[in-house]
C-alpha cells in the first residue's frame, strides 16, 4: 500500500530512536528497502536533512546507506521551477548536510573543492563555502509572527545550530524573530497543534542566545516536555521535541 505520510512517520520513528540511542547506527536499515523503494526515497525527501540529524547532533559519521538514500532523494525530487520556497530550502538543507557529511559526493551542485581527507563532521564548517544557489530569505522578515511560526515549523529540519553545521541563512534570518517565534510556540500549544509547537520549540532551542534570548517566562523546557507528552505519539512531533531537548541539554552546543 502506498502511503507517504505513513512512511514519513515510520522514518521519523527510526530517527527518534537513533537520536535517543546516541546516533551510532543507520536510520534506515540497509535491507529495509522492499518493493516500496520509491516510497522510501520520497519519505526521506519529506523528512529531509533530519534523516542525518542523529549524526549531526551526536557528531558521528552517518551510515553509508543513509547517505546513499539522502543522495537518492536529492536527485529524485529536485525542486521544480514552480517549487515553493519551503521546498527549495528543505532541498538546500539536504545538500548542505551531504556537503558536511560527505564532501566528496556533494553532487549534484558544484561546491568549492574540498581538501582530500577533510574531516566530514566537526565544529568547523567544512570548506568554508556555502552550498551554491541559496534560495531567498527576505520573505521571512515579511511574515506575521503567526505565519513565520508556521513556515519555520515546516522547515524544522533547518533548525540546527550553526556552531555545528556552519552558517545557515535561514537561522540567521530567524534569529531576530526569536520573540515572535516564542509567541508562535504559545499560539501553537494553545491551538493544540503539537507538530507546529514542537517545530517552533526546536527553533527556539537553536536561537536562544544572549543576543536573541527566548523570554524566560516562556518556560521552554517544561513546554517541550508538555508538547512531547501531549503530542509525542506522532513521531514527527517526537523528533522535533527530542532534538530541541538535546539542543537544550547542550548535546550540540
Amino acid at each position: 500500500m502506498r502511503n507517504l505520510s505513513g512512511a514519513v512517520c515510520d522514518l521519523a520513528s527510526e530517527v527518534v530512536s537513533v537520536l535517543r540511542d546516541g546516533g551510532h547506527r543507520a536510520v534506515v536499515s540497509p535491507n529495509g528497502q522492499g518493493p516500496d523503494a520509491e516510497l522510501g526515497v520520497a519519505a526521506v525527501r519529506v523528512l529531509g536533512a533530519d534523516v542525518l540529524l542523529p549524526s549531526t547532533l551526536h557528531r558521528h559519521p552517518p551510515a553509508p546507506s543513509d547517505l546513499q538514500l539522502v543522495r537518492e532523494a536529492v536527485r529524485t525530487f529536485p525542486p521544480g521551477g514552480d517549487a515553493s520556497v519551503s521546498t527549495e530550502w528543505s532541498h538546500w538543507a539536504m545538500r548542505d548536510a551531504l556537503r558536511r557529511h560527505d564532501p566528496a559526493a556533494a553532487a549534484p551542485r558544484p561546491v568549492a573543492a574540498e581538501p582530500v581527507g577533510a574531516e566530514p563532521v566537526g565544529g568547523e564548517p567544512v570548506g568554508g563555502e556555502p552550498v551554491g544557489g541559496e534560495p531567498d530569505t527576505a520573505w521571512l522578515s515579511r511574515l506575521t509572527w503567526q505565519e513565520l511560526t508556521h513556515q519555520l515549523a515546516v522547515l524544522g529540519a533547518l533548525a540546527v545550530p550553526p556552531a555545528v553545521t556552519g552558517p545557515s541563512p535561514v537561522v540567521a534570518a530567524a534569529a531576530p524573530r526569536t520573540l515572535d517565534l516564542a509567541r508562535g510556540f504559545v499560539r501553537a500549544v494553545r491551538r493544540r497543534d503539537w507538530l507546529q509547537a514542537a517545530g517552533a520549540g526546536r527553533w527556539l532551542a537553536v536561537l536562544d542566545s544572549d543576543a536573541t534570548p527566548v523570554p524566560a517566562t516562556l518556560g521552554l523546557e517544561t513546554g517541550l516536555e508538555f508538547v512531547l507528552r501531549m503530542g509525542g505519539a506522532d513521531p514527527r512531533v517526537a523528533l522535533h521535541a527530542h532534538a530541541a531537548q538535546l539542543l537544550r541539554a547542550g548535546a550540540a552546543g
Partner: protein, 59 residues
Amino acid sequence: MSTLKPETGDLQKSLETEVEAALNPGEAEGFYRDTRECLGLLLVAGAALLSPPTPRPKK
C-alpha cells in the same frame, strides 16, 4: 539504487505531487477546550454561587 523506470513515470509523478504537498502543509485547525472546575468534594453545589468564578452568565 536504480533510477525510476519509464513505466513507473505516472506513479513517480503522483509521488512528486505528494512530496510537494507534504513539504508545504497548511496549518492545522485549532482545537480549544476550556478547563472545567469540579467542586471540592463534599461541597454543596450551591456554594459555587457564593463566589462566581467569572463575570459570565450561565448559558
